[in-house]
C-alpha cells in the first residue's frame, strides 16, 4: 500500500479569534498516512486550535486544510469522518458503553449485527470486553479513557485526533496508556494527530513531533532528532533539560565556533549562527557533560559543587561553572559510585559538537 505523504495538509493556515492577534501563523504542515504525529507546545501555542480546525469546530481565517487531497475547510465536522478523543473523554453520560460505541455506527445506519461485531472488536482492542452495559460514571478514569479511544476508532475513521487525552490520569496510568495507544496505532495503522504539552508523552509515542510556539511550528522532526538536534533555543529549552550559556561568537569555522562568555571562551557547534559578532545561546544537555573526562574533549573546565540531589536512578549535581551557578549535571547511579560532596571542585568536559550555538534568547 503506497502511503500518501500529504494525507493531511495544512496549507498556509492562519487563525485569529478576535481579528487582532493571530493564534496560528502561516501554518504549513503535511501529515503522512498512517503516521502518529504529535503537536507539542506550551498552552496558548496554537496546537489545540490546529486540532479544532482539522476537526471542523473552528474555521481557518486564511488558507486551506486538505484531507486526502480534498479541501475540507467548508465541510461540517460530522461529514469529515474524523474520530476524536477529547481531553475530558466526552463520553455520553446517559448512554451505556455499548451505546456510546454504537453511536457513530447508528448515525451511519450500520446494520445491527455489524454494529455488534464492530463494538465487540473495538472493546476487545482496548481490553474492555464485558463492560458493554456499564454506564460511563461506573468506570474509572483509565477505563473511560479507553472507551473514548474505542469510540473514536470504532467507525474506522481515516484520521483520529486526540486532544490531551491522558491529561487527567495519574502518572503510572498515563504511562501505561501511552504504550497502549501506541500499540493500537501500530496494529491498525490509522493516522493519529495527537496534542499534548507533555514532552515525555510526545517523545514516547510519536513518529514525528511538531513543536508549537507562538502560533508557529518551531521544529518538525522525529523524537530523537528533536532531542538531539534542536534547531532553536525554544525547542532546546522546551524538550528535555538543558544548560545554556549566553555569549558572542568570536570565531567561526564550518563545524566549530568559539563563543565568548563573560570571562571565558567555549567551543560550540554552530547551528544558527553564521558570522562573527553574533549573539548566541549555547545549549548543552546535562548528560553530555562528563565528570573527570579521560579522553580528550575540546571543552574542559573546573566547577564547584553547589548542590547534590538524589533522584534514585541518577543524581543531579548543580555546579558553579563559568560564572553561572545553574549548571546541571546528571550522574547515572552506577556501581562506580562517585563521591560527590558539596563545596568540592570537580573537572567537567564536553565535546563542542554537543554544545549547540543557537539563536540568542
Amino acid at each position: 500500500m503506497s502511503k500518501n505523504p500529504e494525507f493531511v495538509k495544512f496549507d498556509k493556515v492562519d487563525k485569529s479569534y478576535d481579528g487582532k492577534v493571530l493564534v496560528v501563523k502561516d501554518l504549513q504542515l503535511d501529515i503522512a498516512e498512517g503516521e502518529f504525529i504529535t503537536m507539542l507546545g506550551p498552552s496558548g501555542s496554537g496546537k489545540t486550535t490546529c486540532l479544532m480546525m482539522l476537526a471542523g469546530f473552528e474555521t481557518p481565517t486564511h488558507g486551506e486544510i486538505l484531507l486526502d487531497g480534498n479541501i475540507i475547510s467548508n465541510i461540517p465536522p460530522h461529514k469529515r469522518g474524523i474520530g476524536m478523543v477529547f481531553q475530558n473523554y466526552a463520553l455520553f453520560p446517559h448512554m451505556t458503553v455499548y451505546e456510546n460505541l454504537a453511536f457513530p455506527l447508528r448515525v451511519r445506519k450500520v446494520e445491527k449485527d455489524e454494529i455488534d461485531k464492530k463494538v465487540d472488536k473495538a472493546l476487545s482492542m482496548v481490553s474492555l470486553s464485558g463492560f458493554e452495559t456499564r454506564m460511563p460514571a461506573q468506570l474509572s478514569g483509565g477505563q473511560q479513557q479507553r472507551v473514548a479511544v474505542a469510540r473514536a476508532l470504532v467507525f474506522d475513521p481515516a484520521v483520529v485526533l486526540m486532544d490531551e487525552p491522558l491529561g487527567a490520569l495519574d502518572k503510572n496510568l498515563r504511562e501505561s496508556m501511552q504504550y497502549e495507544i501506541k500499540h493500537i496505532h501500530e496494529s491498525i495503522g490509522v493516522t493519529v494527530v495527537y496534542v499534548t504539552h507533555d514532552q515525555s508523552e510526545a517523545l514516547t509515542m510519536s513518529n514525528r513531533i511538531a513543536v508549537f510556539n507562538d502560533g508557529k511550528v518551531q521544529q518538525l522532526s522525529d523524537p530523537a532528532e528533536l532531542y538531539e538536534k534542536p534547531v532553536n533555543s525554544f525547542v532546546a529549552e522546551f524538550i528535555g533539560e538543558n544548560n545554556t550559556f549566553n555569549g558572542e561568537v568570536v570565531d567561526i569555522d564550518k563545524d566549530k565556533c568559539k563563543v565568548k562568555l563573560n570571562n571565558s571562551e567555549i567551543f560550540a557547534n554552530p547551528i544558527s549562527v553564521k558570522s562573527k559578532g553574533e549573539k548566541t545561546t549555547v545549549s548543552l544537555r546535562p548528560e553530555r557533560a562528563l565528570i573527570n573526562p579521560t579522553n580528550k574533549m575540546d571543552n574542559m573546565f573546573t566547577g564547584k559543587i553547589e548542590e547534590v540531589i538524589y533522584h534514585g536512578d541518577h543524581t543531579r549535581v548543580r555546579l558553579n561553572l563559568l560564572g553561572s551557578s545553574e549548571f546541571i549535571l546528571k550522574v547515572p547511579n552506577s556501581t562506580s559510585n562517585l563521591e560527590l560532596k558539596v563545596g568540592e571542585d570537580i573537572d567537567i568536559g564536553w565535546n563542542s559538537i554537543d554544545a549547540r550555538a543557537l539563536d540568542p534568547k
Binding site: 476537526a55 471542523g56 469546530f57 465536522p77 477529547f86 475530558n88 466526552a90 455520553f92 469510540r151 467507525f155
Partner: protein
C-alpha cells in the same frame, strides 16, 4: 458479626456507641438549625391544611342543633313518615333553638338539603313562638297540619341525611355532583355544571402555559449557558428583571399593552394587520391569561433549565458531531436527554404555579380566562362559604400531589435538578 469481636475504642466502649456519642452534638446542632423552619412550616402550612380539611367536611353545626331528633331518628328506617317520637324530639330541639334565636341557621342549612325547608320552618317558628302547640297532645298531628311538606317523607329523610357530623357534600359540589335523596352520588343538571368547566380550563391553561414557557425558555436557557460571560450576565438580568417588579405592576402593564386601545393593537393597526374598527380582543379572555402568565412564569422555567445546561460540557455536542451525528442528531440524542432533569423541574414548577394562579387571571382573564383559584377566592370573600372554598382548595392540592406522583413514576423525582 458476633458480639465478641465487636470493635472497641481504646477506652473500651463499643465503636458504634462511641460514634453515636461523637455525632450526637452535630445532630442536635443540625436539628436546632432547621427547627425554626420546621416550626414555621408546621404553624403556617401543615396546621392550616389540617384546619382546611376539617372545615371542608365539618357538618357538626346541625348535629349540635338537633341532638334529640337524630337520637330518635336512629330507630326510624326512613321508608314511611317517622313516628310520633321523632316529631316530638324535633319540636323540642327546635323550641330550644327558637328560644336562643338561632333557628334561622337551621333553616338555611336544611334548605340547602331540600328546597322549601326554610319556609315551612318559619311557619313552625310562628306556631312555637305563639305557644300554639299543645305538648300534651300528639305533636306529630299538630306539626303535620302546619304544612303539607311535613307530611312528605322526603323532608324527614333530608333531616336524617344531615345526621352524620361529617359530610363530603362540599367535595361533590366541587365536582358538580351531589347526594340525591337515596344517598347516591348524582350529577347536577347540565346547565349548572360550572366547576367542572373551571377545573378543565385550569388544567388546560396550566398545561399550555407550561408548554409555551418550555418552548420559549429552552432556547433562552441554552443561550444563557453557552454565551460568553459578559453577554450571558446581561441576558440573565433580562430574565430576572420581571422578578424585581411587583407582580401586580407586571400584570397591569400587560393590561396596558393588550387592551383594545392598547399598544399591541395600535401596532397591529399601524402595520395594517387589522382594521381600526375590528381590533381583536386580547384581554379579558384566555389570550390575555396565556400571554401574561407565560411571561410571568418564564423565569421559573429558565432557571432550572439553565442550571442543568450549565453543567453539560460543550465537548459532548462536539463529540456527537465528530462521531458523525448531524447537528440535529447530536442535539436530540446527546444534548436533549441530558437536559431532561431541568425540563422536568421547570415544567413541574411552572405547572404547579400555574394551576393555582390567582391575581393574573383575575385581572386579565375576564369571564373565560378565570381559573379555579378565582372561584375559591370568590367563595372565600363573596359567599363566605369557607368550607366549600376549603374543599376546593384541598381538591387542588390533591390534584397537584397526583401530578407530582405521576411525574415521579414517569421521570423520577431524583432526576429533578433545581440548581
Amino acid at each position: 458479626m458476633s458480639s465478641e469481636n465487636k470493635i472497641l475504642t481504646t477506652d473500651g466502649l463499643p465503636l458504634e456507641v462511641s460514634l453515636k456519642k461523637a455525632e450526637k452534638r452535630n445532630k442536635i446542632k443540625a436539628f436546632l438549625l432547621v427547627a425554626p423552619l420546621l416550626l414555621f412550616l408546621l404553624i403556617t402550612y401543615i396546621f392550616p391544611i389540617g384546619e382546611m380539611f376539617t372545615r371542608s367536611i365539618d357538618d357538626r353545626m346541625i348535629t349540635n342543633m338537633l341532638p334529640k331528633t337524630f337520637e330518635s331518628m336512629k330507630k326510624w328506617d326512613g321508608k314511611e313518615l317517622p313516628p310520633e317520637e321523632v316529631y316530638r324530639s324535633f319540636y323540642e330541639d327546635y323550641k330550644i333553638l327558637a328560644e336562643k334565636k338561632v333557628h334561622g341557621k337551621l333553616g338555611q342549612r336544611l334548605n340547602k338539603e331540600k328546597n322549601g325547608f326554610n319556609s315551612i320552618l318559619k311557619r313552625l317558628f310562628r306556631k312555637v313562638k305563639s305557644n300554639q302547640i299543645d305538648e300534651s297532645k300528639s305533636i306529630k298531628e299538630q306539626i303535620i297540619k302546619i304544612h303539607k311538606h311535613y307530611r312528605n317523607v322526603d323532608y324527614w329523610r333530608a333531616i336524617k341525611r344531615t345526621a352524620p357530623p361529617y359530610t363530603i357534600n362540599k367535595y361533590l359540589k366541587g365536582m358538580d355532583m351531589y347526594l340525591d335523596e337515596d344517598g347516591n352520588v348524582a350529577q347536577v343538571s347540565e346547565d349548572r355544571r360550572i366547576h367542572r368547566i373551571l377545573w378543565l380550563r385550569t388544567l388546560e391553561i396550566a398545561l399550555f402555559v407550561t408548554i409555551f414557557c418550555f418552548l420559549m425558555g429552552y432556547p433562552i436557557a441554552h443561550l444563557l449557558a453557552t454565551l460568553p460571560m459578559k453577554y450571558s450576565n446581561l441576558l440573565m438580568i433580562c430574565v430576572l428583571l420581571p422578578f424585581w417588579t411587583s407582580l401586580l405592576v407586571r400584570t397591569a402593564s400587560w393590561m396596558i399593552l393588550l387592551q383594545q386601545q392598547g399598544l399591541v393593537n395600535d401596532f397591529f393597526v399601524m402595520i395594517g394587520l387589522v382594521a381600526d374598527d375590528s381590533r381583536p380582543e386580547m384581554m379579558y379572555n384566555k389570550v390575555g391569561t396565556y400571554v401574561a402568565m407565560t411571561q410571568i412564569l418564564l423565569p421559573f422555567m429558565v432557571l432550572p433549565l439553565y442550571s442543568v445546561m450549565k453543567t453539560i460540557s460543550p465537548s459532548l455536542m462536539r463529540a456527537g458531531k465528530s462521531l458523525g451525528g448531524t447537528p440535529f442528531v447530536a442535539f436530540w440524542k446527546v444534548y436533549f436527554p441530558l437536559t431532561i432533569p431541568g425540563i422536568g423541574a421547570g415544567c413541574l414548577l411552572v405547572f404547579i404555579l400555574a394551576i393555582g394562579y390567582y391575581i393574573t387571571p383575575a385581572l386579565v382573564g375576564g369571564a373565560s380566562g378565570t381559573l379555579i383559584s378565582n372561584q375559591i377566592a370568590f367563595h372565600m370573600k363573596q359567599t363566605l362559604d369557607w368550607s366549600f372554598a376549603s374543599a376546593m382548595g384541598l381538591m387542588l392540592l390533591t390534584g397537584v400531589l397526583v401530578i407530582y406522583w405521576i411525574y415521579n413514576k414517569l421521570v423520577g423525582v431524583d432526576n429533578i435538578k433545581l440548581g
